[in-house]
């Protein structure tokens, strides 16, 4: 991850395109592409009812991966990000019997995940690279163990059923509820996507790339690298919490599996699959991941892992920029 520490000019092309912030054409194209993707998602959700559920989960996971993308900008990989997702999900599961309102549960889940992110962040942002990744992994496994072992409260690995939910005071039918969750996920995805875009374009966001290339220079400029990273970390925890709340409200059942290291690995996988070049990448990656998984599982139920793994290998070998890298490369090719 930090091989190019002393050679910022050698950064991969797809990162540079965005990091340099070329105005106009690319921006408009990215916006158009995002709109197109959203329209396609709505069309698919309308045409194929069962995919609506899969896409809602994909959008939720995309939001969590958006948080990972922020840290990737700083050259840091968190192998424990699922802990924030699980925090959001379990918040919903625990509170739903008392407060059924989705519009209250969602901010609450985000708030708790943010607080956890702040507490954990104060500690982990002192570390870089493998130490950062492993500490996150360790802490997420602590959360996993707690969720699994505090059996009387969490019901262990069998998990908790999320009670019936209310949307702005009403209890819709199943079909409407699925649409509401899908719409909510889409809205949040767009909102967070724009937020991340603005953030990455701001001085704070630019400083993240500084951490990746050469941290010392950042400190010489009078910017605290730790503070920059902490801000990004807390923001990513917030998005993890929102994603977790969406996952819990959509699948309506939470298990400690959500905090297990494989779930964190899944998020990093999605980040790689989607590409770190744009705020659109995580959503492309998440949709790709979920669709490959469901189709692989439908086609060969016993070998879906093999197919998923092969796809990741192919992406790493032939398209290191991920899906976004492929798309943007093609778009630029056409524009030239």
């Amino acid at each position: 991850m930090s091989g190019d520490r002393d050679a910022p000019a050698a950064a991969p092309a797809h990162v540079q395109v965005h990091a340099q912030g070329p105005a106009g054409v690319t921006l408009a194209r990215e916006g158009a592409l995002a709109l197109l993707a959203a329209a396609a998602a709505i069309l698919v959700a309308w045409a194929v009812p069962w995919l609506k559920f899969v896409l809602t989960l994909a959008l939720a996971k995309g939001i969590a991966v958006l948080g990972i993308l922020l840290l990737l900008r700083a050259g840091q990989v968190s192998f424990g990000h699922a802990m924030f997702l699980a925090t959001g999900a379990y918040t919903v599961a625990f509170v739903a019997p008392r407060i059924e309102e989705v519009l209250l549960l969602l901010p609450l889940a985000m708030l708790l995940a943010t607080l956890l992110g702040l507490a954990v962040g104060l500690f982990v942002v002192r570390y870089r690279d493998i130490f950062f990744g492993m500490l996150n992994l360790a802490l997420s496994m602590v959360l996993y163990s707690l969720l699994e072992k505090l059996y009387d409260y969490t019901k262990g690995t069998d998990g908790i059923r999320v009670a019936a939910l209310r949307f702005a005071g009403t209890v819709p039918g199943r079909e409407t509820q699925e649409w509401l969750m899908f719409g909510l996920a889409l809205l949040l995805a767009i909102g967070f996507g724009l937020l991340v875009r603005a953030y990455l374009g701001s001085p704070m966001g630019r400083a993240l790339a500084g951490i990746k290339t050469r941290e010392t220079r950042l400190e010489f400029m009078g910017i605290s690298a730790r503070r920059v990273l902490l801000f990004a970390y807390v923001l990513s925890a917030l998005m993890g919490g929102a994603a977790g709340a969406l996952v819990a409200m959509t699948s309506r059942h939470v298990t400690p599996q959500l905090a297990y290291w494989t779930s964190s690995g899944e998020l990093v996988f999605i980040a790689i699959l989607g590409g770190a070049g744009s705020a659109l990448g995580p959503f492309l990656g998440a949709a790709g991941f979920e669709l490959v998984r469901v189709y692989a599982a439908a086609a060969v139920a016993e070998a879906w892992q093999l197919i998923l793994g092969s796809v990741l290998l192919l992406v790493i070998l032939f398209a290191p920029g991920g899906i976004w890298g492929m798309l943007s490369g093609r778009l630029r090719g056409r524009g030239a």
Binding site: A47, L51, D158, G159, R252, H253, V292, Y295, A299
Partner: protein
Amino acid sequence: MNDAITRRDALLGAAATAGSLLLAGGNARAQARPTELRIGITTFLSGAASVFGVPARQAAELLFEEINKAGGIAGLPVRAYFVDEAPGTDHLVGEYRRLVQNEGVYVVFASISSGSCLACTPLSDEMRKTTLLWDCGTQRIFEEGKHPYAFRTQGYGTPEVLAPLLYLLKHKPDFRTLAVINQDYAWGRDSWELWKAAMDALKPGVRVVAEMFPRFGAPDYSTEVTRLLAARPDVILSTSWGGDLVTLVRQASERRLFERSTFVLPVAEASMQVLGRTMPAGHVIGARGDHWNNHPQPKDPARLAKFVDAYRAKYNEYPIYPCHHMAQAISALQAGLGRAIQAKGGGWPNDLELANAFRGLTFDTPTSSITLREDGQGLEDQIVGLSSFNDRFPFAVPRDMIMFPAAMVSTPVGQKSVDWLKTLKPEMLAQVPAPIAG
């Protein structure tokens, strides 16, 4: 129908894919008589629990092949869609939707894992899809809520723990100390809670000298075995299963723990073939039901022999309990669908009519018959015995078997298992039937 989907389609969610799926999913809700009977089956095809999931799938394939040769169910050829439970519940509930909305399955057979069942059952209410819970054991399903479309075609945790306890109280009534070593996940904890509640009611004053919950999939039990050797409990309970149980029995028998303490292993049956002669004789073993290979008085001996022989011929091993549970779900479907068609005077039943036919249904299994109670729970007899060896099998089978009628060891409708177990009286032991030599 997914053969033609390329990577690009999948990645981009291309409109072409959506279109083809739209056409495929169009008649999912139609209640006209279909041309084939589609069944969605969720089972473990990967991970630790595939030791149950794969044999069950094999049993299903074997039986469906036979059924299709004989003209299908209700005259329709059967087509099964298998789904892997291993990726977790959020994936599984998506797959459940796919099975119902896209593949248009008529019935879903849900889940080995209790967590999967807990996630799928409420979905069966919402989607109004008859769901047979074919293997999961948690008592929470029907005790925490009503599920009009869900039916469990086998026993569950409470009878599967209570029967071995009653057997122990008959076989070794004077034990004074007990240790437990269960896997550290929901079933390990649940089963211990059930056992403890029943034991405290039926034989108060037993001292629990060790409660150990080694992690799921632990490769080494030397610490636990050492502790058990030092604690010298009269009885050691373990509801572990699969590879974990095999590892535990091997390591404990190497260090002669079986010579000091009596083991009670309620889920032993599925591991006996793997253990072979390593399994020590004279310990209490259960099978999550009555389907032992040496069942002393099966209801239909020819059917049991045919099933076991066909399975052995095809897969070169004896069927284990998940195979029987799968066979039970298939028998229940045959009986339930037949009953629904009869009730409709030969017409094709819709989802509600099908579900109603299962309530109170009695269907035959090779070894016995099972009745589905009004809450959806199946009443399956339990046979527990002492591990022993004979000339017929190269692995341990029970002797001195006691057959516990399901109604005796199951929580009555509307009560919670732990509360009910606490009300048991030691006089209950007088009702336990006499052992059968076997």
